[in-house]
């Protein structure tokens, strides 16, 4: 459990006073998740890195003015990142890139396995990319980032009921796109994919 001087809010306050160690702790604590969400939206590593970097740049610029007011730092970071992602998507009008840059292979897999895993991932990512932006955001935040419906609603500026509706519609669309290929996509995925215990 974090001490009172190690909470996100305390770290932001210290960063606002020029504390570089506090800033580094925030970077270590939140970069992966902000990047993962951005990459899920943009399917482009360089673009996701730019969004992540810009998100933190805005945090540094606002750190000295931070007042909790009920919002969590993580919520704020996600909100900024998601908005930056939407700005990029609308600017480039790119919903599904023809060839997303290959993600780095799991070093534990052999070459063939890595290629198959990459193909499976691309199929799921392509289906996600075809979703309307709001549905993709909701699934990114709730399913992949495991945020609560309340947190996701706050990030996206909608009601909890709206989040639930977005999730249900998004999952139905993904089911329609992916279930016919389930056997093909799941073949060989047993070791790498997370499974839900029933």
């Amino acid at each position: 459990m974090r001490g009172s001087d190690d909470t996100d809010e305390a770290l932001v306050e210290r960063a606002g006073r020029g504390d570089r160690l506090a800033a580094s702790k925030l970077v270590v604590r939140h970069t992966d998740r902000v990047f993962a969400a951005s990459y899920r939206m943009l399917r482009d590593r360089a673009a996701a890195e730019d969004v992540t970097q810009e998100t933190f740049l805005r945090l540094w610029k606002n750190a000295a003015k931070w007042r909790p007011q009920g919002a969590r730092i993580e919520t704020w970071l996600y909100r900024v990142a998601m908005n930056l992602c939407l700005d990029r998507l609308r600017r480039t009008k790119r919903e599904a890139p023809e060839e997303a840059a290959p993600e780095r292979a799991d070093p534990a897999l052999g070459a063939d396995e890595a290629m198959e895993a990459d193909e499976r991932r691309r199929a799921v990512d392509a289906a996600l990319a075809e979703l309307p932006e709001r549905q993709r955001e909701a699934i990114t935040l709730c399913h992949y980032q495991e945020l609560s419906n309340i947190e996701a609603a706050e990030i996206l500026g909608v009601s909890v009921e709206a989040i639930e509706s977005l999730l249900a519609r998004g999952r139905r669309a993904l089911r329609d796109k992916l279930m016919s290929r389930r056997a093909e996509l799941m073949e060989g995925a047993g070791n790498g994919a997370a499974t839900v215990a029933l």
């Binding site: 993962a36 890195e49 419906n149 799941m186 994919a193 499974t195």
Partner: protein, 157 residues
Amino acid sequence: MAQQQSHYDGAERLARGRALLEAYGANPAQWPREDAPLFETLKSDPLFAAARAEAAELDELLAVSPNAAADDALKTRILADFPARGPARSAGGAGWFRSFRRLAPASALAGLSALGFVLGASTVSVASQDEADIYYAFDTSIIEVAEGDAFWAEDGS
């Protein structure tokens, strides 16, 4: 939460359970907290179990796309954007300290810091003397410091 459940009769509970599966998937840990008791009520219902199995199939498919990981170079760039508001330090003195840090055990450095032998610590906005030691020792690899913060605590320094 018991009040929430009492709002639903049997058919409504099943309908709500299916709606939760459609939105949040088969894992009750990802359901809204207030709806978690509903899972316990429904889990032995065969209709709910069938719907849950369907939701689990989609969950498994979505899981073949794990979250992408950021690399350390990105974290370093992000931290490089952090405005340098700290005091100007003598590069030579700090460099000496950095070299010393690589060679000296942590306990020795703790002793030095107790003697106040940390350059300019009094002008740096840090929470403690230990953090000031870390700041000056690891300025060029501050990411490693933050990640290894627990190391210091376990080391007793």
